[in-house]
């Protein structure tokens, strides 16, 4: 729980998940909390007010921690995860409720698109008598849907200031902070008990349901009085139609296949092939690396240990730069832009719905698609986001699956480059099938073995919309920068460690030591042992090391090595997070399990694929 109250931009593992670090001064005059249902534009409002970046997305449930930012006059603004009421149904709700009840003032962001639903939370906060204002957001989209809201009437009924806005274009944002001066507790629903009594009554599940029923009835009436419906625009009907279309399983499978193929073509062929050829071969190996070697060679002779450490094969200066800027950077940018587009247009929640049936077989529900997809970006960040899942059971299953079967973007970047050498599409198909089977078997086993019961899906679907280029550009850029900031130091430390083991002869020793596994079981060259050693420092680092050996390996050997390295130990950063989130026992089991699964599955692949000659 402790981590929830920390600055979310700096996870305690030292990895930054979503944006820049901001020092929060200790003397705070007032704490203002942003509250609202999921996907109503809270994060956009937060950004507009603080100038900070948070992950604005069209997927309910992506804000896990509480972003904070300073306003003028030492006022602290906190964002909260989207919730439908103050009722502690999940950890997210617990965090949100705690922040809202501790606030001096609340800014309640309400979507004009779903007024009736959203007003429940508004009335809940009012009934708890927190001084607040309401920001009525997405007014433009509401107009498009033919919804007309009488703002003056709404303000009168609620008894708190109501500010209409279009946060995404900035319309009305400048009126929010001045309105805070008039924040007030508002009008509780008729016959509402006093705050302390109400809190106590809501502790009892049956009485709570009764009170919720009264509140629901009251706000439904209120919404009916202020809302009038006209004719929806053609754009909106199209968005609805698209939304429905993407819920069709057949369309889902086809669009999923198209999305996968587009990712393969754009990131795999154009970026990993053509662009990386220029950035790595021409720029890094052609100019930068030789320049570094000349400079280092001028100071330290070529056969010294220091030269090897600094500018050798795994050199701190040479290899780190070559991989970070030559290979990873273009691929990471490509991957993030792509994922951001899918996220921003509302396609991801539809995937959650379609995958719910499958995920419930492995003890998860459709919501777990959020951490799993985030895992393709960064497993560390994804493990933290498993908090959006309702039970500990689901979190255990999701973290284990993430740690073992999901390759992160850094790893995928290198895997894509290697797959081109291993036979392209066919190799991909085999690789994905193997990982998918491992995921299913592992999930099914965990679902059978773990005690308790998982929860079922209840997910609100946001409308489909055209992705905003500004949003995507900003999101991809910040994510890339955060990734580089996190990855670069570990990369440099990693290559330092590897260079040292090389200079001291440990790397050769490890190659002999691990030979029974690498050579006999996996049918790989002995040098791949060093890849597994590097993989322990950082997951993608292992894959990157493989890239160097690839020209000496056959297609099936590359595939075996890739499967093994993917299933193998999660990187140090993500292991630290699993330890923190799930405890030492569970994280140790995950670690040991990943070794076992990696080598067993790797062995099977080596014998089946190597023997069959399908590649």
């Amino acid at each position: 729980m402790n981590s929830m109250t920390q600055d979310p931009y700096v996870c305690s593992s030292g990895t930054s998940c979503c944006g820049p670090t901001e020092e929060i001064p200790i003397d705070i005059s007032e704490t203002i909390v942003l509250a609202g249902n999921p996907n109503v534009g809270k994060s956009v409002v937060f950004n507009a007010l603080t100038g900070l970046y948070t992950n604005v997305s069209n997927f309910p449930g992506t804000t896990v921690d509480i972003p904070k930012g300073m306003l003028s006059d030492k006022r602290l603004l906190k964002d909260t995860p989207g919730v439908y009421g103050l009722s502690k149904f999940s950890e997210e709700e617990f965090v949100a409720e705690k922040a809202i009840l501790a606030a001096d003032k609340v800014i309640n962001v309400v979507s004009a698109l779903s007024l009736e639903r959203d007003l429940f939370l508004t009335q809940h906060i009012i009934d708890f008598q927190k001084p607040m204002i309401v920001v009525l957001n997405q007014m433009d989209e509401a107009k498009g849907q033919g919804l007309e809201i009488d703002v003056a009437q709404l303000q009168k009924y609620l008894g708190v200031p109501v500010i209409p806005t279009v946060a995404i274009t900035g319309e009305g944002i400048d009126k929010i902070l001045p309105a805070l001066a008039n924040a007030c507790p508002g009008n509780p629903m008729p016959d509402c008990p006093d705050v302390e009594q109400l809190k106590q009554l809501e502790e009892n599940p049956v009485k709570r349901l009764h009170i919720y029923g009264l509140r629901r009835q009251y706000v439904n009436g209120l919404s009916q009085r202020v809302l009038s419906k006209g004719v929806a625009s053609a754009n909106f009907s199209l968005s609805r139609l698209m939304g429905k279309l993407f819920l069709n399983p057949l369309v889902g499978v086809i669009s999923g296949a198209i999305a996968m193929f587009a990712l393969y073509q754009i990131v795999g062929i154009w970026i990993a092939g053509d662009l990386v050829n220029i950035t790595e071969k021409t720029i890094m190996l052609g100019y930068v690396v030789p320049a570094i070697q000349t400079v280092v060679g001028a100071v330290f002779p070529k056969n010294t240990a220091i030269y090897t450490i600094l500018a050798g094969e795994f050199g701190v200066l040479t290899m780190s730069l070559q991989y970070i800027f030559g290979v990873l950077f273009p691929l990471i940018v490509g991957f993030y832009v792509y994922i951001s587009i899918l996220e921003d247009c509302g396609y991801l929640p539809r995937i959650a719905v379609l995958s719910d049936g499958l995920l419930s077989k492995i003890g998860l529900n459709g919501r777990a698609v959020i951490p799993i997809i985030l895992g393709f970006g960064c497993v560390t960040m994804a493990t933290v986001s498993t908090r959006v899942l309702a039970t500990q059971r689901e979190r255990t299953i999701a973290s284990t699956i993430l740690a073992i079967t999901i390759p992160c973007s850094a790893q995928i970047a290198v895997i894509i480059a290697l797959m081109a050498l291993a036979g392209g599409f066919k190799a991909w198909l085999v690789y994905c099938t193997i990982l998918f089977v491992v995921l299913l078997v592992l999930g099914t086993l965990l679902n059978k073995l773990l005690p308790g019961k998982s929860t079922s899906l209840m997910l609100d679907l946001p409308p489909m919309r055209l992705p905003s280029i500004k949003n995507i550009a900003r999101k991809s850029w910040v994510r890339t920068m955060v990734f580089l900031k996190e990855a670069a130091p570990l990369f440099i430390i990693g290559s330092l460690l590897v260079s040292i083991t090389q200079v001291t002869g440990l790397l050769t020793a490890s190659e002999h030591l691990l030979a029974p596994i690498t050579v006999n079981l996996l049918h790989l060259p002995a040098q791949t042992a060093s890849i597994f050693i590097m993989g322990m420092v950082r997951r993608d680092f292992g894959a990157a090391g493989l890239y160097m050996l690839a020209n000496q390996m056959t297609a099936s050997q590359i595939l075996t090595a890739l499967v093994t390295i993917t299933l193998f130990v999660p990187c140090i950063a993500s292991f630290t997070v699993i330890w923190k989130e799930r405890g030492i026992t569970e994280s140790s089991i995950v670690l040991a399990g990943s070794w076992l699964i990696a080598f067993v599955v790797g062995g099977i692949v080596a014998h089946l694929v190597g023997g069959s000659g399908i590649l």
């Binding site: 439908y84 599940p205 349901l209 919720y212 719905v353 379609l354 719910d356 049936g357 209840m458 609100d460």
Partner: protein
């Protein structure tokens, strides 16, 4: 606990039904906050085979998993 009555799992795309009972108090409470309460009518806009039912009420679209749908008893109007 499985219902013998008609539940959200039994309706087809395009059908509109009234919610009659939600068997679990916790689920009823969560649904209540989102505006899905006993007596409200909802329209099914999509059914994923062996998966969730997607219902629409007002401007809201809500996907409900199989395990929850079988707890929500409904009737045709």
């Amino acid at each position: 606990m499985k219902s013998t009555m008609l539940t959200l799992n039994d309706i087809k795309t395009g059908q509109t039904v009234v919610i009659k009972n939600i068997m679990d108090v916790g689920i009823a409470t969560q649904a209540m906050r989102m505006g899905i309460a006993i007596g409200e009518s909802v329209t099914c806009i999509a059914r994923v085979p062996a998966g969730p039912t997607v219902i629409q009420k007002g401007g809201m679209e809500l996907a409900i998993g199989e395990g929850l749908c079988c707890q929500i008893e409904v009737a045709f109007e």
